[in-house]
Symmetry: C2
């Protein structure tokens, strides 16, 4: 049983799985069935999965997070569970963000909490969602309406496993990587600026910084009561609304939300014009990404649609105010409450909305 | 949003509701509809409930704790919720144990936790379940399979409200009262021994001791990781099995489990014969209760049935061992791992089982 005495998970970052750190005989593995189809010269997820005698496969993806189907899913899962379910048992969750959300929630409410180990299989989960204890399910189409804080005791970040995922999943992690490089205390975006390697190599290179920067924030404010943890939300407020509307991948949406937040910071005079241009140049040249509204295929949503999605944000207060994360310079984010109507006006000014 | 920094709820013990401690305009009240039918000269639950503009009624009882129906129930509840659901909101839960379990779980998983206030309406909930943050739902007939630790920020213990409940509910609290008097650090069972008032008056008189003794234990071991909190389980291991089998009220089951634990402690030589007899005399004379197996109507369950129920106990480990709470003397419980088979043998010896 995980106590909440610390949100600091033990993070094991390795090229390959260490032999001695997982009790495969006794742990229960919850894994994404999609992983069975992956295979590289270096690593076979299938073989790894089959090394656990007690294992339960589910299909990863947003539909796994439906709370309506949750009790049925959970009963099916418990039927395959080695009996009896005890609080001393460990649930190992192997998969991307949706598996982590689902498995983390399951671990948190089963017998008031069983021990949890996260093994993220996507770069995005490895750098972000597997750390910090947040999990979430969706209720009636509202994302992340249900959830708990429940940190993993251990998180395994294994390069061989991450490299076995399709390249596009790696590219979907750029948004969170850039975000953390901009707001994290190690300020590693400055290193990205001078980095000579191709962008695909950045991710493993800076993963450790992402993770350390994230723990540095969440340990100061584990339950998001002190507003400190909210700096991690840079790019997320507007990004989430775009994500819900367009059903874009999370990482891509965060990157677009980051463009929005950077431009708003520049426009308000918080971020200098020079640094703003430098940051956008790096993102465009090294990551080949630009604000989506500049692209031909972008179809502007209505203000009304986006406002409704913003109002459903769990961080929105009763008066339609939300703490928005602006950037002063690299490593110096700050929070300021903004009205949803002002956010919409700004998004119109930036050409995101009709 | 309740952080877990402390499991010590602010406990407000009064004869009547204080005027200034509840923000009825802004809190959301979740209440047991059965309370609408109660009324005494001193207090009208109906009037109190109607003072909350935002209120949601549900029928208390074990069926409320069905996890299968939970998402449907929750969606219905959220439809009546003042929009939008925000983490800064407070859910006030008014009712007995099942309401507290249900409402506490709802508060804990909604938006990763909204502020929770408990107003127990039964003596049993007021002395026990409203404190300490445990909540639970039932999955596929297994009691309390699902749940979280989520302490209330405030607990209101109001005599007028508690007295408005039927007398039999008060009598159902005797089991927990006796248990806490025997294991709690204030050792108030010694005071019960010399108490001259009728048993019905004991409950309010000793309620404060029950609550203080409970916090003294749980604050040392909030998440039950250190085995300290398990002393509160005195009478519960065997009591829960009887409760599941006979569907007796919880308090009565705990009292029967207490008889079992006392006799086992005596038989092992932990508890002196003299003190054992004294305790049983007090329970029989002041509370008019005796071990159920001595009564004509008692129908012995089979060992197999009870063993199966014991194996489903979430505190049972993989090897069929459980920490059992024995008593050395008043205020001195101790834990010892026992095998489920030894427990069954002892229950047979005591004439509880076929």
């Amino acid at each position: 049983m995980k106590s909440f005495e610390s949100f600091q998970s033990q993070v094991i970052i390795r090229n390959r799985f260490p032999d001695d750190k997982l009790d495969v005989e006794n742990h229960v593995l919850l894994f994404d069935e999609n992983l069975l189809n992956l295979e590289t010269d270096e690593f076979s997820p299938k073989k790894f999965i089959k090394s656990f005698p007690h294992r339960l496969g589910v299909k990863g993806g947003e539909s796994l997070k439906s709370f309506k189907d949750f009790p049925k899913n959970l009963e099916a899962l418990l039927k395959k569970w080695p009996e009896p379910v005890g609080r001393s048992q460990t649930l190992v969750v192997l998969g991307g963000g949706t598996l982590g959300d689902y498995g983390g929630f399951v671990a948190s409410i089963l017998k008031r909490g069983v021990n949890l180990i996260q093994i993220p299989s996507t770069w995005l989960a490895a750098m972000d969602s597997a750390h910090g204890g947040k999990n979430a399910l969706n209720l009636e189409g509202v994302k992340n309406q249900i959830g708990t804080f429940y940190p993993a005791s251990k998180v395994f970040v294994i390069k061989d496993l991450l490299e076995s995922a399709p390249l596009e999943l790696k590219e979907q992690s750029y948004g969170e990587l850039i975000k953390m490089g901009l707001v994290g205390e190690s300020k590693f975006f400055k290193e990205i600026m001078v980095e000579k390697r191709p962008a695909q190599d950045f991710v493993w290179r800076f993963l450790k910084f992402c993770i350390e920067d994230k723990y540095a924030v969440i340990l100061q404010d584990p339950f998001e009561t002190k507003k400190i943890r909210q700096v991690l939300n840079f790019g997320h407020t507007f990004g989430h609304a775009l994500e819900s509307h367009f059903t874009w991948p999370h990482g891509d949406s965060v990157l677009q939300g980051t463009f929005f937040a950077l431009e708003w910071s520049r426009h308000r005079g918080d971020l200098s014009q020079a640094l703003y241009e430098q940051i956008l140049d790096v993102i465009s040249q090294k990551f080949e990404r630009v604000p989506a509204h500049q692209l031909k295929w972008y179809k502007k949503p209505s203000s009304k649609t986006i406002k409704k999605l913003l109002m459903a944000d769990k961080k929105m207060d009763k008066e339609g105010k939300i703490l928005f994360v602006f950037l002063k310079s690299i490593g110096r984010p700050f929070l300021k409450p903004v009205l949803v109507d002002d956010l919409i006006l700004e998004a119109k000014r930036q050409n995101w909305l009709k």
